[in-house]
């Protein structure tokens, strides 16, 4: 047992080192695009949060932006009302996201299959309408603007080029990623994977299903909420698009592109999707839609496991080849 756990440990340490290296490389290579890169990090948190409930628990959702938006608006409203310390704002986002996750889980887990999916969409639309209506607090369709965040730890001001915001976001992402690595490999994470495959078996093992899934919704909400808060802090604006069906659907596409049920896949999918989007939609936003559509069809037909699934398949066949030779 120790040999294999050691190897897994080593793999995770290398993986996290690679994430940090890639993040810092982005900082040096694209100093003019740090705002975009910070948006990528915020989106990555959202995609990770979907992976937790869709990839690890098997609950499909097209409404995850409600949790992201809950975090964004909570942090934004707190910020205009005088709480400007960035770490506190992230925590506020996490709390708001987990409360929204609790609510969303309670509602969604009542249904299964299509009804569940429809509930997720209805919830995000309801959040969207609510945020639009409560314009006294949210700024409605104009968005909540004018967020003035204090310097991080009282020392690092959020500068015009977004350097502080980016590094802050990167640190947050790495921290969350490490915690999630623990979560998905804990007994609880195992239980979730079991539920995804066969809830009846899990019940026959003497474990309830609903509280386990609900707990994952809360964790997922915290992650998405932090993503929302990070987006709010870095762009200093919270718009209605942060609680939209479109954002939810796009984030799901990113996850599927990267590979469901793999935390690395969630990151890779986000980076590739948003990178492409940046270049292609600059040319013509409608070509972008056609491309995403074609991409989705291609993933479903050719690579159901996403990019990380493809990698696994290649490495598995490599192993088999080696074993065959030996």
């Amino acid at each position: 047992m120790s040999a294999s756990t050691d190897r897994r440990w080593l793999r995770d340490v290398i993986g996290i080192a690679l994430i940090i290296a890639a993040g810092l490389a982005g900082y040096w290579l694209f100093p003019d695009n740090l705002a975009l890169l910070t948006r990528v990090i915020a989106a990555a948190l959202l995609v990770l949060s979907i992976d937790l409930i869709t990839g690890y628990c098997g609950v499909a959702t097209l409404g995850q932006a409600s949790l992201f938006g809950a975090g964004a608006y909570a942090a934004g409203i707190a910020c205009v009302n005088g709480i400007t310390e960035p770490v506190t704002l992230i925590l506020i986002g996490a709390v708001a996201g987990s409360v929204a996750g609790l609510l969303m889980g309670t509602i969604m887990l009542r249904a299964h299959g299509l009804a569940q999916l429809v509930l997720s969409i209805a919830i995000v639309q309801l959040f969207h309408e609510a945020a639009n209506k409560a314009s006294a607090y949210t700024g409605g369709s104009d968005g909540l603007a004018g967020l003035m965040v204090s310097p991080l730890f009282g020392m690092f001001a959020f500068d015009l080029w977004g350097r502080t915001a980016y590094l802050f976001g990167l640190a947050l992402l790495v921290l969350v990623f490490i915690i999630l690595k623990f979560v998905v490999s804990s007994p609880f994470g195992m239980l979730c994977r079991g539920i995804k495959q066969d809830p009846i078996r899990i019940r026959a093992m003497g474990s309830f299903v609903f509280p386990v899934l609900l707990k994952m919704f809360v964790i997922s909400g915290a992650v998405a909420g932090m993503g929302g808060a990070l987006a709010a802090i870095s762009t200093q604006v919270v718009g209605l698009d942060s609680v939209s069906f479109e954002l939810s659907a796009n984030a799901l596409v990113m996850l599927v592109l990267g590979g469901l049920g793999s935390l690395y896949g969630a990151l890779v999918g986000t980076v590739i999707f948003m990178g492409f989007e940046h270049f292609v939609s600059a040319i013509n936003p409608f070509h972008w839609m056609t491309m995403v559509g074609a991409l989705l069809i291609a993933v479903v037909l050719a690579a159901p496991g996403g990019l990380s699934g493809l990698l696994d398949r290649f490495s598995a066949s490599g192993h088999r080849a080696k074993r065959g030779k030996a």
Partner: protein, 254 residues
């Protein structure tokens, strides 16, 4: 009242069709009971009723003097009423070791921990190893379940059940689908079940039934038509009729 486990008048109707009618039986601790009957007799329905996957139209299930009829499947498992499945329900991507570890952790109330490690709880490791070694599954303990032989998967089903430390164990055709060369291993595992455990086994393999069971109950068309020693079964007129005649069919139409 000394019975560990008892069902009284258990009845289940689906629409107008009675799939279980007025089934009563009781088991003391250490019982080895076989439940047999022709296809469609309602054996698996009976297991589902007893373990709470479906709820009865009438009747009671009593465990240790406590009425558990109103409890859901999970609570019954936690009280010691455990089943295996006729068709294995295992997680193809997990290893046998992980299956049993998860079950033991669940029993200990530790399966919901978020930040503790899955492996390496020393007290759990010992128990998991002892269960796997009793069943002869140590060599495949770290292979994915999808890659191990079906007979080994059936053994793992039993292993998961044992990890729950049951008081009453319902085995739904433990040898179903297993090549005959592997049947002895299943039988060996059944012989090694804890002596105080009350076991109810559904099985079609009559040799296995006769070697394992001290008592046999025959179910036909949702009803108990015989209860007695294994040696008496074959001679019973009703049983012969149920298996050879059209008994089950005739009763269902009526």
């Amino acid at each position: 009242m000394s019975d560990l486990f008892r069902v009284e008048g258990l009845t289940k109707n689906f629409g107008g069709l009675a799939v279980s009618r007025n089934i009563s039986l009781s088991m003391p601790a250490g019982e080895r009971l076989a439940l047999i009957g022709p296809n469609g007799a309602g054996k698996t329905t009976f297991v589902n009723l007893v373990t709470g996957q479906i709820h009865p139209s009438a009747g009671r299930v009593v465990l240790n003097g406590e009425d558990v009829t109103k409890l859901g499947a999970v609570r019954r498992v936690r009280k010691g009423l455990v089943r295996t499945f006729q068709v294995t329900r295992l997680f193809s991507q997990m290893t046998p070791e992980e299956h049993v570890t998860l079950t033991v952790l669940q029993r200990e109330g530790k399966a919901n921990r978020i930040l503790s490690r899955f492996t390496g709880h020393s007290e759990v490791v010992g128990e998991v190893e002892s269960i796997l070694s009793t069943l002869g599954l140590l060599d495949v303990a770290r292979r994915r379940v999808g890659e191990i032989a079906y007979g080994q998967q059936r053994l793992l089903e039993i292993g998961i059940a044992l990890a729950l430390r049951p008081k009453v164990l319902l085995l739904d055709e433990p040898a179903a689908g297993v090549p005959s060369s592997d049947t002895p291993r299943i039988e060996q595992a059944l012989e090694r079940l804890p002596p105080s455990l009350a076991v109810l086994m559904i099985e079609h393999d009559m040799d296995l039934v006769f070697r394992f069971a001290k008592r046999v109950v025959v179910l036909a068309a949702g009803e108990i038509i015989f209860e007695g020693l294994p040696s008496e079964v074959a001679a019973n007129e009703k049983v012969r009729e149920a298996y050879l005649g059209n008994y089950a069919h005739a009763r269902r139409i009526a």
